[in-house]
Amino acid sequence: MSGIVESLRVLLGGAPRRVSKKDFPEEVQEMHKHKFADKERIEAIHIELREKAANKQPERWRRKRWAVLAAVNLLFLVSYYLDIQLLEGALTASRFAGFHMADLNSALQVMLAFKHVVINLIIGTVTIFILWWLLGGRTFCSWVCPYHLLAEWAEMLHLKLVAKGWAKDYHFDRRSRTWLWLVFVILAVVTGYTVYEAISPTGILSRALIYGPGVALIWVALLLLFEIFFSRRAWCRYACPIGLTYGFVGATSPFTVHYKLPNCYHEGECRKVCLVPHVLDTVLKGRAAEMEVDIGADCTRCLRCVDACPTGALTIKYKGPGDLL
C-alpha cells in the first residue's frame, strides 16, 4: 500500500523518497555491499555495452511499440476511408465494432464542463478505464498516443543536437503537470468549455490523421520545436494532463516494469533512455530498499529500459490478484 502512495506522490511531481540504508532488510544491505565484488562480470558487461554501442541494433520493444501505435491510429483512418465501421471516431472518443470507448481525460473534461453524463459516455469511460488499468495506465502514452511517436523522433534529433552543442536541455519542475491538470479541471468547470481539448496535441493529431490536416498542427509543430531545441520530451514530462490522468489509472495496474536488484550492476543504461527517469531512481547505486521493486505509476511501459538493460534487471511483470497489494 505504501508503494502506491509513494508512486502517486512521484507521479504528482514529488522527488522519489530515499530510504535510509539502515532501514533496509539485512539481505538487501548485504546485496548492496557485495555488488561490485565480481570484477570479471562487470568487465564483461562493459565490453558488451561497448560492442552494443559500436554496432547499434534496433530496439526490439520499440519496434513492436511503434507498430502497435501506428496500427491503432491507422485503424481509425482505414475504418473511415473504407467505411467498414470497425473503429469509428478519433482518439478522444470512438466506437470499436459499435462498442463505445472514450478517452479518460477527454471524458473527464466533458463531464466537468457539461455537468451531465449520458449513458454512452459512461459505458465508453468505464470500458477504457478497465482496459488501461489492465494494460498499465500510461501505457496509453507510449503505445497509442500519436504525439508520443512524433516526440520520440524529435527526441532523437534533440539528443544529436545536444551532443553537438546546438541545443540545450532545460529541466522543469515536474509539478507543472499537476498544476496544469488542476488548471484544466477548474477551467472546464468554470468556463463550461473543454478548454484543454483546444490545445491537446493528441486530439489534434488524431483528428488531423483521420479528417485531414489543419492549421491547428502549427501548435503541435511548435511543441516539437520546443522539445528539439530547449527541453527533452517537455510536453510529455512536464505538461500533458492526459498523461497524469492515465498515470492515476495505472497506479494499481497489474502490469508493471519490474526491477530485480541482484541482476543490476548500476550501469545506468535504463535511465539514459527513459522518458520519466525519476521512476527509475531505485536503480541508482545503493537506493533499492528491497530485492525486487515495481516501477511506479508515471512509467509509460515503453519498455525501452527493458531493452537497454545489459543484465536483465528490468523485466515485464504481470501481477496476479495476490500480488496487487
Partner: protein, 280 residues
C-alpha cells in the same frame, strides 16, 4: 564567456527552474484560453449538426471525436480548424457548400454522438432546430423576377450532393449530375427536405386509402412534418419564397440557390439561442 560567469549555484539553478516552470504553466494555460476567445465570444456563426444543444451546452458536451462526420452520407459536417473560430475539432455545417438534406433518414449523426451534444431524444427531421432560413436578397431571386432556371443549379464544378429519391432512394448524387429545366425557378421549395417529406406522406396516405402498402413500410407517428417550411407566394404579382413555421434550418435552399451570393441564407442566432436542441 568565462567559465566563472556561467557557473550558477545550486540555489540559483533551482530558482531558475522554478521560474521556468511557472512560465510553462502560465504559458500553456494562456494559449489554451486564447483559443477559447472567438468560440465563447461567438465571433463566427455557422450551423451546428442536427440536434445540437444550446451553443454553450453543445460546446461543453462535444468531445470532438468526429463520429457525426463519419456517418453523414452527404459529408455535410466538418470539424472546425484553429482558424474557423468555432472551437478546434467541434463540428459545424457550411450549408452553402453542403447542407444537411436528411438523406440518412434516421439522423445518424445524433445516433453517433457519444456524449449527447446532439440531443438523443430527437427522432425526425421535422423536430430539428438548427436555425431558420432567411430570404435576404429577394430582388435577385429568379422566381421574384419571373424567370425560369435551366441547367446545373450550382454549375458543373459544384461538389455538393443531394438525395434525389426518384433517381436513387439510397445514395445521394451530385447536384451537378442533376440538371433542371424549370419554367419558374422553384429550386428552394422543390428541394426542401421538409416539403419533399410532406409530399411523400401525402402520397403514402393515398396509397393507404387504396390498401396497397406493405406493413414494414408503414411510417411511425410524427414522422410526417406537421408544418410546411417554405412556399412561393404571390406577393404583388411576384412569386416570392416565403419561409414558414416548419423550417428547421437545414440549409438545402441556401445550397441549391443558383444565384451568387444566395438569395436565402441560414440564421441560427435566434433558434440556437433558445433551443434545447430540438423542437418540442
Amino acid at each position: 564567456m568565462s567559465k566563472k560567469a556561467k557557473r550558477l549555484t545550486a540555489k540559483q539553478k533551482e530558482r531558475r527552474k522554478f521560474l521556468r516552470s511557472i512560465a510553462l504553466t502560465v504559458g500553456v494555460t494562456g494559449i489554451s484560453l486564447l483559443g477559447m476567445v472567438p468560440v465563447i465570444g461567438k465571433w463566427v456563426e455557422r450551423l451546428r449538426p442536427p440536434g445540437a444543444l444550446l451553443e454553450e451546452d453543445f460546446l461543453a458536451a462535444c468531445i470532438k471525436c468526429g463520429q457525426c462526420v463519419q456517418v453523414c452520407p452527404v459529408e455535410a459536417i466538418k470539424l472546425a480548424d484553429l482558424t474557423d473560430g468555432l472551437g478546434i475539432g467541434v463540428p459545424y455545417i457550411d450549408s452553402r457548400a453542403q447542407a444537411c438534406d436528411f438523406s440518412c433518414d434516421g439522423l445518424q449523426c445524433v445516433l453517433a454522438c457519444p456524449t449527447g451534444a446532439l440531443i438523443h431524444e430527437i427522432s425526425f427531421p421535422s423536430q430539428v432546430d438548427m436555425g431558420i432560413a432567411k430570404v435576404v436578397r429577394p430582388a435577385q431571386c429568379l422566381a421574384v423576377l419571373g424567370q425560369g432556371f435551366k441547367g446545373q443549379a450550382r454549375g458543373a464544378d459544384f461538389p455538393g450532393k443531394l438525395r434525389y429519391a426518384d433517381i436513387d432512394r439510397w445514395n445521394p448524387i451530385k447536384v451537378a449530375d442533376h440538371p433542371y429545366d424549370l419554367e419558374l425557378c422553384d429550386l428552394c421549395v422543390r428541394q426542401c427536405p421538409i416539403e419533399i417529406s410532406i409530399v411523400e406522406c401525402a402520397l403514402e396516405d393515398q396509397r393507404k386509402s387504396t390498401g396497397k402498402i406493405a406493413r414494414v413500410a408503414q411510417r411511425q407517428e410524427n414522422e410526417c412534418p406537421p408544418k410546411h417550411a417554405i412556399e412561393l407566394r404571390d406577393i404583388n404579382g411576384a412569386m416570392t419564397p416565403v419561409i414558414l413555421e416548419g423550417c428547421v434550418g437545414c440549409g438545402v435552399c441556401e445550397m441549391i440557390c443558383p444565384i451568387e451570393p444566395a438569395v436565402i441564407i441560414m440564421d441560427s442566432s435566434d433558434s440556437r439561442a433558445n433551443s434545447r436542441g430540438m423542437r418540442t
